[in-house]
């Protein structure tokens, strides 16, 4: 034991050999089940605790345990850490740890590496008893060198076996120790993180994982001749670090919501895992329903009985919930629906990133179904928007959608610790007598708003129905009534929109090009815009949080730019395709909405590759766009 250092130094003394760097992108890739994500999440948490900016992206295979040592088996995590706030996954990897030589091929397919990326590779396969594996290993070394990776072979398993009997589980913690040395992480913080990671396991498990952590650290100290110190962000408040799904879970707690009714679906489910651990201690319960339809039906019952509930799902779940969403809009029931978007259509890309549900959420129900739709652009917003959504739902007596995506759901980022105030929490169910002369839909003619009676309130008795109904809740097929009540429901959006401010432009409020985005792409877009503006380019960006109703003043903002273009992660036809022209091009989803809203010729750049956006790619695309604009002037 004594041969290992007790703690690391608090701050690294930069040397000529190891100058302090601004940021690094690290990946850990392994076979599914080897714990690369646990390692990476712990590394990210340790880094955040040391004051670094952090963003993580999980690399998740579609199957639980695909055949080992294959491209399909690649499972892992990317951690981008820096001495400033990090808002996206960045571009190519600086350093990758690979537990076998086959899984990196999956990342090469994703163009994750660059020339000079350092690869720390498990070397045990070089002496494997199978000649086939030995040959594979040799070939991979050759392949990796050809594309310019700097390979360092490391006897990970051999070293693990010096401290534990079996390295099958635990190699990830040895790697964590190694990374802690390379990035000069405080070892005591790291040990505490390991204790937290394995908090539900026995003392023996915790102890052996700490041994592995220490061993990895020490091995690196003895054998590596480089380190990458990244200094912390200078000033900072109390922070928390979590992923977007955990932030939604916290938002549920912070909103005082008492019922979360859900059905398991990737990538949304982990939000309920977080809740399941602590919900009962804060006065709430999770109902795991028999299917997606029953999940929202149960939530709607709960809403009718007085408490605004939440249901959390992903695209295919939204499709199944469609009829109930229509009922909630028609009968004016408050409800929060979170859609953690994944790749579609159909079952699509369950673990990958896409912003493909916008139009389905806006228009996916028969008839006119006005509703309020928000999209979180950061993990912090995942938290605060649940609280906001609950309030809007109750004030406007309407379903409220909160859109996030797989990028936010599994990405970890530190943000200022929320300071809960009473105002966030839902009030107790009103059981006071209902005023006898007030009907259950006492629509205000100007705002469309109405109060609602809750079962248990004397004199408030009414029958809720999804059929057209009048102000006393009676079924009514009267033509004038249906026209009028449809207008009331629509008017609520106008009323809500009047409470919103025009969005803030990032960069100058006028110029050549305006990029418009929504949801999780904000970090990547703003990073690209910032870099390009530093280069002197005339480009700004706008990020929308409210998608129904849209934030006001968009047209006034747009006309100050020569060109407006959305950047999204969903499908649009490639304008360079000879078969595609102005007349037949199908646009990306936000572009479609903005074109209709503003009658401005909004262009779009989008793809469905299932990956978060990279600032480097965006910069390339935006440069091209600016060049074309310049040529048009000439």
């Amino acid at each position: 034991m004594n041969q290992y250092p007790k703690t690391g130094k608090d701050t690294f003394q930069a040397t000529e050999r190891d100058p302090v760097i601004r940021e690094h992108i690290v990946e850990i890739v392994s076979d599914s089940g080897e714990g690369a994500q646990k390692c990476g999440q712990s590394f990210a948490a340790i880094s955040a605790k040391m004051g670094n900016g952090v963003w993580t992206v999980e690399i998740i295979p579609a199957e639980i345990q695909p055949p080992a040592r294959t491209i399909e088996s690649a499972s892992g995590i990317r951690i981008r850490l820096g001495s400033r706030k990090i808002t996206n996954m960045g571009d190519e990897v600086d350093l990758v740890v690979a537990l076998n030589e086959q899984v990196p091929y999956a990342r090469i397919l994703q163009k994750a590496f660059r020339k000079g990326t350092i690869m720390l590779l498990e070397s045990k396969w070089s002496s494997d008893e199978s000649e086939y594996i030995r040959t594979q290993y040799a070939k991979a070394l050759d392949d990796f060198e050809k594309i310019g990776l700097k390979i360092i072979q490391i006897p990970m398993e051999v070293e693990c076996l010096k401290v534990v009997k079996s390295a099958k589980k635990g190699k990830n913690m040895w790697v964590l120790g190694l990374l802690c040395y390379v990035y000069d992480r405080n070892l005591e913080i790291a040990r505490n993180q390991v204790r937290f990671t394995f908090r539900t396991k026995s003392e023996d498990v915790i102890e052996s994982n700490i041994l592995l952590l220490d061993a990895g650290y020490q091995w690196a100290a003895d054998n590596l001749d480089f380190r990458f110190p990244i200094s912390p962000i200078e000033t900072r408040e109390d922070m928390v670090v979590m992923n977007g799904n955990e932030a939604i879970g916290f938002g549920v707690l912070g909103a005082g919501i008492e019922v979360c009714s859900m059905y398991p679906i990737t990538p949304a489910t982990s939000a309920s895992h977080m809740l399941a651990e602590c919900f009962h201690e804060s006065g709430g319960l999770i109902h795991q329903a028999e299917d997606e339809i029953a999940a929202i039906g149960f939530a709607i019952g709960s809403s009718y009985a007085g408490k605004t509930p939440i249901t959390i799902t992903s695209g295919p779940g939204i499709a199944l919930k469609t009829e109930f969403i229509g009922l909630a809009a028609m009968a004016e029931l408050p409800l929060v629906i979170v859609d953690v978007q994944r790749g579609g259509p159909s079952t699509g890309l369950p673990t990958k990133v896409e912003q493909g549900d916008l139009l389905a959420v806006l228009y996916g129900q028969p008839g006119d179904t006005p509703k309020i739709v928000l999209a979180a652009s950061t993990i912090e917003e995942c938290f605060h928007f649940v609280i906001l959504a609950r309030k809007i739902a109750e004030s406007f007596r309407t379903p409220v959608f909160l859109l996030t995506d797989a990028n936010l759901a599994t990405g970890q980022q530190p943000f200022p610790r929320p300071n809960a105030v009473k105002d966030w929490f839902s009030p107790p169910v009103d059981q006071s007598p209902w005023k006898k002369d007030v009907p259950p839909y006492d629509w205000n003619e100007k705002t469309g708003l109405s109060r609602r009676p809750i079962p248990g309130q004397p004199f408030g008795m009414y029958t809720l129905t999804g059929l057209a109904h009048n102000e006393i809740g009676q079924v009514s097929y009267d033509p004038e009534n249906n026209q009028k009540t449809s207008a009331y429901r629509s008017k609520k959006l106008v009323t809500f929109r009047n409470t919103l401010n025009p969005p803030q432009v990032f960069g100058d409020p006028e110029g050549d090009l305006l990029i418009v985005g929504w949801g999780s792409t904000r970090g990547a877009i703003e990073e690209a815009i910032e870099d390009l503006r530093d280069e002197g380019m005339s480009v700004s960006s706008l990020h929308l949080r409210f998608l129904s109703p849209l934030e006001p003043g968009l047209k006034e903002i747009f006309i100050k730019f020569r060109k407006v273009m959305t950047i999204e992660i969903n499908y649009s036809d490639d304008p360079d395709d000879p078969a595609i022209g102005k007349e037949n091009r199908r646009y990306a989803q936000l572009a479609w909405v903005l074109r209709a809203e503003t009658l401005i010729d909004v262009d779009c750049f989008s793809n469905v590759e299932g990956q978060p956006l990279r600032p480097g790619n965006l910069k390339m695309r935006i440069r091209r766009e600016l060049k074309e604009l310049e040529q048009k002037v000439k």
């Binding site: 955040a48 039906g297 709960s302 009473k422 929490f425 008795m461 029958t463 999804g466």
Partner: protein
């Protein structure tokens, strides 16, 4: 105060609910439809049990019978086709103070809502469930239902239906955690009333299969039902259905049945040609999901804030 002893006045209820307190508007079902009889008996039950209309919710799906909540002067939820159970479950889960009734039809429950039906039985949330089975789709005008007998001629099966029907009692008794299953008929009001009452008194998911006449689209069944007392069997025993002796005497066939015995209940349910009236099964010990739902009610905002902060500590940097 003539004739009333003043010292007993305290025991008078603050408010006494009359039938009119549950009656809203005249029902718009066809003349001769069995729904009318159930509505009248439910209103009577509400009155007799003095259910507070403000604390009572009638939940339904879609179909003829699902218009029921509109005719009750209580709270009501007339929702989506096949989805009464999830809604009713959501209403009752954390509102132990509410009396919840569910109205569903054979299409609503046994066809489009079959998945929800199975799970609602298993959840065993305290509610009184009335399945109105007239073996036909009425509101959409005469289509075969999953409970229609083989050979049923309808708009969708003009040559006669080809599949054997689902027997709702049999299906319900097959689900784990089942807690109350009874059968009655709309044309025998005393038995209907007594069964509704026994179901209401049972704490849990009380499922009542009501054989019901549809004079419009199943007129052939009406006489077969009401005219033939030969295949009507009254279940007697420990079932909680309170029938007068004269009522009991009016049944030609009686079967002594132990309602705590699920195997005996299932054996009865395997004989769909005989109509057994009464309680097939009841188990007051079955686990109730609404008890779990009501297990952590009433947290104050301060408690919630401290729970949130405690959890945030774990994620603090």
């Amino acid at each position: 105060m003539y004739g009333i002893r003043p010292e007993l006045l305290d025991e008078f209820p603050e408010q006494y609910y009359c039938l009119e307190d549950y009656e809203k508007v005249a029902a718009k079902w066809c003349p001769g439809c069995g729904d009318h009889a159930v509505l009248g008996n439910i209103q009577k039950l509400c009155r007799d049990e003095q259910l507070n209309p403000a604390k009572t919710v009638f939940v339904s799906g879609i179909g003829c019978s699902s218009r029921f909540p509109h005719y009750m002067k209580t709270y009501g939820f007339h929702g989506l086709h096949g989805r009464a159970f999830p809604v009713a479950s959501g209403i009752k889960w954390r509102r132990p103070d509410l009396n919840v009734f569910v109205i569903t039809g054979d299409g609503d429950c046994c066809s489009i809502g079959a998945g929800a039906w199975i799970h609602a039985i298993r959840y065993n949330i305290d509610m009184t469930v009335m399945l109105f089975n007239n073996e036909i789709y009425g509101l959409t005008k005469n289509q075969t239902s999953p409970t229609s007998r083989i050979g049923t001629v309808s708009s969708t099966t003009p040559l006669g239906s080809v599949l054997p029907p689902i027997h709702p009692i049999q299906t319900t008794l097959g689900v784990s955690n089942v807690s109350f299953v009874a059968q009655t008929v709309d044309w025998n009001p005393p038995h209907l009333y007594a069964t509704l009452k026994a179901a209401y008194k049972h704490k849990g998911f009380s499922f009542i299969h009501i054989l019901q006449r549809c004079p419009k689209f199943q007129s052939g069944l009406v006489d077969q039902y009401t005219g033939n007392k030969e295949n009507l069997y009254l279940l007697t025993g420990n079932d909680g259905v309170e029938l007068s002796d004269s009522m009991k005497a009016s049944f030609k066939n009686k079967v002594e049945h132990n309602a705590n015995d699920i195997y005996a209940a299932r054996t009865l349910a395997e004989q769909p040609d005989r109509i057994y009236l009464g309680v097939f099964y009841r188990n007051p010990e079955a686990r109730r999901y609404d008890e779990y739902g009501a297990s952590n009610l009433g947290f104050t905002v301060d408690q919630k804030i401290s729970a949130l902060n405690k959890e945030l500590d774990k994620f603090a940097v």
